[in-house]
């Protein structure tokens, strides 16, 4: 399948801004290499203050690399990055206090008890919100006298999130925080995030492969692909850009390359399903003109849209599938 030329979404603003602007994250022409592999390519990204911003992308898209640069543990090979208006390579302890971070491993000191760890963090962060901590921890079942190492993955994730939110950060980065959690723990985690965002002004940057989570949480969707920014807009806008068309053809369907904006073509139960980008009703007319006996517009959810978007060019030209 031919790659579809993409245009950034309505929130994709690459104009240079002064430091201290309303962006919590700003990057400009960011490059990063691992040996001979380029992880980030001229990545220019501006994430405004407030709301939940989801960053999605396939493995190797550069999400974790971006977070490493943003948190100052890795230097880019080109360009610059700022977080909360400060150079990422020179974050002071005061700036770090304003940034929360939760990763998928929930790396906490396993030798401490929950209460000891929390006491330590409480003393460390002057803006510690005990009420919020308790409120979030209630979603989980971690006991104060339990050792961190003895907690389940979900409980550890809960403690980690509760601590991160209780620090009252201006920006909270969540890097695949629900990875490996069961359904119950994941639900509790998401509720905690939603509850926290409602009662504070914390900006959340959320990275996940779980589109149902993104759909539920995110106000803004950022799609990275091979280290490049491919899309940035509210999820609904992105879903609006991707449309599904179903057609019935007596013979073979038209070659996808001859149709505009095709992301994915699948044959399901004898019908041809086209996922297309940035196409209006004219696409249906085009299908009719190209021999469709009948056609109609189908539903597209975010999961399907993002999946089609990220796998375009990788899928078979006309794969056969059966509707479950």
């Amino acid at each position: 399948m031919r790659a579809v030329p993409l245009s950034p979404g309505p929130h994709h603003d690459t104009r240079p801004r002064r430091a201290g602007s309303d962006y919590v994250i700003e990057t400009e022409r960011l490059d990063l290499w691992y040996g001979r592999k380029q992880a980030l390519r001229q990545l220019t990204l501006r994430i405004p203050r407030g709301h939940i911003h989801a960053i999605v992308g396939a493995n190797g898209a550069g999400k974790s690399s971006l977070f490493r640069i943003l948190l100052g543990v890795q230097s880019p090979h080109g360009g610059w990055a700022k977080i909360l208006g400060h150079d990422c390579g020179a974050l002071t302890e005061h700036e770090r206090a304003r940034i929360g971070f939760v990763n998928e491993e929930h790396s906490l000191p396993g030798w401490l008890q929950v209460a000891e760890l929390v006491a330590m963090q409480r003393r460390l962060y002057p803006a510690w919100n005990e009420q919020r901590f308790r409120g979030i921890l209630d979603h989980f079942h971690a006991l104060p006298d339990q050792r961190i190492a003895a907690l389940s993955r979900g409980e550890r994730a809960g403690v980690n999130l509760a601590m991160a939110l209780a620090q009252h950060p201006e920006l909270l980065i969540l890097d695949e925080p629900t990875l490996g959690l069961d359904v119950v723990a994941k639900r509790a985690f998401l509720e905690a995030v939603l509850g926290a965002i409602e009662e504070s002004a914390t900006t959340i940057v959320y990275c996940s492969h779980q589109m149902d989570e993104i759909e539920r949480l995110a106000d803004n969707l950022v799609i990275l692909e091979l280290g490049e920014l491919k899309h940035m807009s509210p999820p609904d806008d992105f879903c609006g850009r991707v449309t599904a068309w179903v057609g019935e053809f007596a013979g073979p369907p038209p070659e996808p390359g001859t149709l505009p904006g095709v992301l994915q073509v699948q044959r399901i139960d004898g019908l041809w399903h086209f996922l297309v980008l940035d196409q209006d009703e004219g696409f249906g007319a085009l299908l009719a003109a190209r021999g469709a006996l009948r056609h109609y517009r189908g539903e597209v959810n975010l999961d399907r849209a993002v999946n089609a978007f990220l796998t375009r060019g990788h899928a078979a030209p006309a794969s056969e599938a059966t509707r479950p």
């Binding site: 290499w33 001979r36 890795q74 230097s75 090979h77 302890e93 998928e104 906490l108 401490l112 760890l117």
Partner: protein
């Protein structure tokens, strides 16, 4: 910081306590067999290596566990400065090492001091603290390696070892050891930063980080190349495993050694123009011979770190005499029951006069004494004049006591006319050494009917470790007549038939001066601490071996070229590049190797 320190303490406290318990039990068990405070320096060195290994292991477990990015973020991404984070880790480690190493040692020393008659001096307590500091240095080196982009950074630990690990007084070691500890702490502290892979920004930090690394790499290059050459030499031998043993029934070792000495002396006389030389050569197989060598490397110094002089035993009375550096006298105790048996001073038992210097093996630096076991008095047999000291053990042979000092070869004879058996020896003859620094490595003495023949064999095998074959071995043969007058009667200006170490590897000399002249000088600097040496460290800024100069120049140019090539792939600023290239030019290969460790290169397609 306190919270993090507490957390890190809690993390390993159980392990520290278990190790402390095991350590205490091991000391207790060992003390049933040997007197730990008076173990030889080799055994104590092994113990120190074990303690340092413990420090290094702790660093790799503790700080190494944060190498993973997610764990590193947990540690570093907090509202605390990296310096305070490092301090928390370091103080927690210090507490753990103090519990695991220092506490059992101190407890053991106090118990030994209070409950037994063994000698425990202040130096033992101070040495325990030094041991803790060395273990902490190992921790710092391990922490530095764990937080650096290159694991070879652990080589920094070699620098403080070479600079401070010497058998000097514990008091004189304290300052250099603390300076080195501070230096390593500085290096390790600056490697704890958010971006561990980033090049070091400040020039001062870079210099102080690079120097110990370069010194460590220099020492590694030196020892690895020397070991490599020794292996090549060993593999090249036709019968490398063959060693003559004292138990070999078919080998008369004395006769073999005598024959070697006689052959050597005969060769020295081959070119002699003295008319008596032919006669002497003919007589040689029939002559009695004796050999001397500079086999005393050092004498103990007061409050020494490590032991040189071992306890001596008065078997008939069952007394073990152990020297106390605090009282400068020997303390006597029954070797089995431990019952106290009094003190031994400079004049003998119960003498209140302390020794002025620490004795070892029946002698001090300038005095050979004997003990009258009947009266238990001590008598000086030989007392050398000021400025002269023993470099070899006196040898009783040929009816004389032969002595090699830093200035002369001396032959003494017992004073047969004296009333006492312990009268001072009378000097028979003295032969001033033609070259005092260094002394000859072998002295052969043959007794003639009308005098003595003395062969002095000079072979500088220490000036450049691993380069013995590049200095010329030479021999001088001296005749001493019956009146004690010496005259040179033969010799060889350059000996080519002596098999010397690494003799086949002249074309590939071991790494030394030519690898880095400044680091060679720096590595010799701590020789100043070694006041007990009989042959003081003889540092030469410029070697006499011509081959070294083109080698040094070639390596310097090669390092600069390689450094230039490496820097092209980095983002170093022009001033930083100039600094590195100057460093490569001045310090050579170790500077280039440290450049590989400290200046990341960016790989791009």
């Amino acid at each position: 910081m306190i919270d993090l320190m507490r957390s890190e303490w809690r993390r390993f406290r159980r392990l520290a306590l278990i190790i402390a318990l095991a350590h205490g039990l091991a000391l207790l068990l060992l003390s049933r067999m040997v007197e730990i405070p008076h173990l030889g320096h080799a055994d104590q060195g092994a113990m120190l290596a074990l303690y340092m290994g413990l420090g290094l292991t702790l660093a790799l477990l503790q700080v190494g566990s944060y190498r993973k990015v997610s764990r590193w973020l947990w540690l570093i991404h907090r509202p605390v400065r990296p310096g305070r984070i490092f301090a928390a880790l370091a103080f927690a480690a210090l507490a753990q090492l103090a519990v695991a190493i220092l506490a059992p040692l101190l407890l053991f020393l106090v118990a030994t001091d209070l409950l037994t008659t063994q000698v425990v001096d202040v130096r033992h307590y101070v040495a325990s603290v030094l041991v803790l500091i060395f273990a902490m240095m190992a921790w710092l080196a391990g922490a530095h390696a764990a937080t650096s982009r290159h694991k070879a950074s652990v080589a920094v630990v070699l620098a403080p070892l070479i600079l401070t690990l010497h058998m000097a007084s514990v008091w004189s070691l304290l300052l250099p050891v603390l300076v080195c500890l501070a230096w390593l702490a500085f290096v390790a502290r600056h490697s704890v930063r958010a971006d561990r892979d980033a090049p070091i920004a400040r020039t001062s930090v870079l210099l102080l980080t690079a120097l110990p690394l370069q010194l460590g790499l220099f020492l590694l290059a030196f020892h690895l190349s020397r070991t490599g050459l020794a292996l090549v030499d060993l593999l090249g031998r036709s019968n490398p495993g063959r060693t003559v043993l004292a138990t070999d029934a078919d080998v008369d070792i004395d006769a073999m050694m005598r024959s070697m000495s006689q052959d050597f002396l005969a060769k020295g006389l081959e070119g002699s123009v003295d008319p008596r030389a032919a006669t002497w050569r003919a007589q040689l197989p029939l002559l009695r011979m004796a050999g001397l060598s500079p086999d005393i490397g050092r004498f103990p110094v007061r409050h020494q770190f490590g032991n040189l002089g071992e306890p001596w035993f008065d078997d008939p009375r069952s007394i073990q005499w152990t020297f106390s550096h605090d009282r400068m006298r020997f303390r006597g105790r029954h070797p089995v029951t431990g019952a106290a048996r009094g003190w031994w001073g400079a004049d003998g038992i119960s003498a209140s006069e302390p020794f002025t210097v620490v004795p070892a093996g029946g002698m001090t630096r300038s005095t050979l004494y004997a003990i009258d076991h009947e009266t238990q008095r001590q008598h000086d047999l030989i007392r050398l004049p000021a400025g002269e000291w023993f470099v070899g053990r006196p040898v009783r042979a040929l009816g004389r006591v032969l002595v090699l000092t830093n200035l002369r070869v001396l032959a003494y004879r017992p004073d047969l006319q004296a009333l006492s058996h312990f009268a001072p020896y009378r000097l028979d003859w003295a032969l001033p050494l033609p070259e005092r620094d260094p002394p000859p490595i072998g002295v052969d003495v043959a007794e003639l009917l009308d005098g003595w023949l003395v062969s002095l064999f000079y072979f500088d095998d220490r000036e450049f470790d691993g380069f013995a074959f590049l200095t010329r071995p030479w021999q001088q043969v001296v005749h001493i007549d019956a009146s004690g007058q010496a005259s040179v009667v033969g010799g060889r200006p350059e000996i080519r038939d002596v098999r010397v170490r690494l003799g086949r590897s002249v074309a590939v000399p071991a790494a030394s001066w030519w690898v880095s002249p400044p680091l060679y000088a720096l590595a010799h600097l701590p020789g100043l601490l070694n006041t007990g040496l009989t042959q003081p460290s003889r540092f030469r800024a410029l070697p006499r071996v011509p081959l070294f100069y083109p080698l040094a120049l070639g390596l310097m140019l090669g390092s600069v070229a390689a450094g230039y090539g490496w820097l092209r792939g980095t983002r170093a600023t022009p001033s930083r590049r100039r600094l590195w290239l100057m460093s490569c030019a001045l310090i050579g290969l170790p500077a280039f190797l440290s450049l590989l460790c400290l200046e990341p290169r960016e790989m791009r397609s």
